[in-house]
């Protein structure tokens, strides 16, 4: 618990150092901080408006798939196979949903930890997977959406391969360090 509040305090300090430190330093170096801030901030709204179609397309498709129970069907189908290579069946839904939805993955993580307890191996493994992977499809939709890119080439393949690596590496390192 102490480390947790320490890390929260630390990120708050970093945050405020940037928010106050950057303008203070630049003011000393002769930057008209307020005017420059406004000039930079002007583009914010335009940028967000451009993302909307990409985000709607992605989030609706993922939301439909979640509502249909598709993630459950796929994890049910694959779990016997993964049990054989040492991946606990509870972990698969988390690994499957993580690239698509950060919020849903948080729900699955909370459920795993609640069912297995905070000190269990599976909970630590799930936490490691959660921390080392990203919501790849959200990042792709938002980042490419901002510059109106529709043909994403190999970005998804590389991103998903990174997520897969994170899951496999988590399984291995947790097996080595935590059992």
């Amino acid at each position: 618990m102490n480390i947790q509040s320490f890390s929260t305090t630390l990120s708050n300090i970093i945050f405020l150092t940037m928010v106050a430190g950057i303008p203070a330093y630049c003011f000393i170096r002769g930057v008209k901080v307020y005017e420059v801030f406004i000039e930079g901030a002007k583009d914010g709204f335009q940028l967000v408006i451009r993302i909307i179609p990409y985000l709607v397309a992605m989030i609706v498709a993922i939301g439909m798939f979640r509502a249909s129970g598709g993630f459950e069907i796929i994890s049910h189908f694959f779990s016997p196979l993964l049990n054989r290579i040492g991946m606990p069946g509870d972990i698969l839904p988390l690994a499957l949903i993580r690239p698509f939805s950060g919020g849903a993955a948080k729900g699955v993580l909370a459920d795993i930890i609640h069912t297995n307890g905070g000190n269990s191996y599976i909970s630590h493994l799930a936490g490691t997977i959660m921390g080392s992977t990203e919501t790849t499809f959200y990042v792709i939709a938002v980042y490419f959406g901002a510059v109106s890119i529709r043909r994403t080439r190999h970005a998804i393949a590389a991103g998903l391969l990174g997520d897969l690596t994170a899951v496999v590496a988590s399984l291995w390192i947790c097996h080595v360090l935590l059992t």
Binding site: L55, H124, R153
Partner: protein
């Protein structure tokens, strides 16, 4: 690729919805998700605007150029197509740093700024460049020094040492980062992922 994944998700939702008897839920999810996506975008606006303003100050004050010069050797190797002093480099560095420190709401504005700068260098608008794909790969496998969400969940469930996962996460995320960057570098050379110059979007600008 996105075409197939997107269509696949939608068509499979209908199929699975029928199998599971969850058609009403699937129907409701369309409206709900569209609304959620819009609200999410609007929710980003304020903080996005703020960080973009702050970044402009850091640029004018020479802070970002300082960072760029310091990390030049690494950046040059990762993004050979981007000129060393280009503003994209600074935005990329800020984005990765913010991700590492767990400042998620600062990482996104920096990342979008980086994409904007990379787009200026893009000769085929509408199609991703090699530099963009490497940058995205770095982002989807971003290194997190402290996985705050997972630690908080474990601590709430009464874990004795929730911070045990810092080491394991750091290891797994480093592996993911290496593989993501290397695979982006490898895939960009494959014929299947080459930029197709005969598409209409690129012809208009050439």
């Amino acid at each position: 690729m996105l075409n197939i994944i997107w269509l696949g998700l939608i068509v499979l939702s209908v199929v699975f919805g029928i199998i599971n008897g969850r058609i009403p839920e699937v129907v409701a999810s369309v409206t709900d998700s569209a609304k959620a996506a819009f609200e999410l975008s609007l929710g980003l606006t304020g903080i996005m605007t703020f960080w973009l303003g702050l970044m402009k100050i850091a640029e004018e004050g020479g802070l970002i150029q300082l960072l760029v010069r310091f990390l030049h050797p690494v950046m040059q190797r990762l993004f050979p197509d981007v000129p060393p002093e280009h503003p994209a480099m600074g935005a990329i560095i800020l984005n990765v740093t913010a991700n590492m420190l767990g400042l998620g709401n600062a990482a996104t504005p920096f990342g979008l700024r980086a994409m904007n700068e990379l787009e200026i260098l893009n000769k085929t608008p509408g199609t991703a460049t090699n530099a963009m794909c490497v940058f995205l790969a770095m982002n989807t496998a971003s290194i997190q020094i402290i996985p705050t969400t997972a630690i908080a969940f474990l601590a709430a469930a009464g874990a004795n040492n929730p911070t045990d996962i810092i080491m394991t996460t750091l290891f797994a995320t480093s592996c993911a980062l290496c593989v993501a960057i290397l695979s982006a570098k490898f895939f960009e050379k494959l014929p299947f992922f080459q930029i197709k110059l005969n598409s209409t979007a690129s012809l208009e600008t050439l």
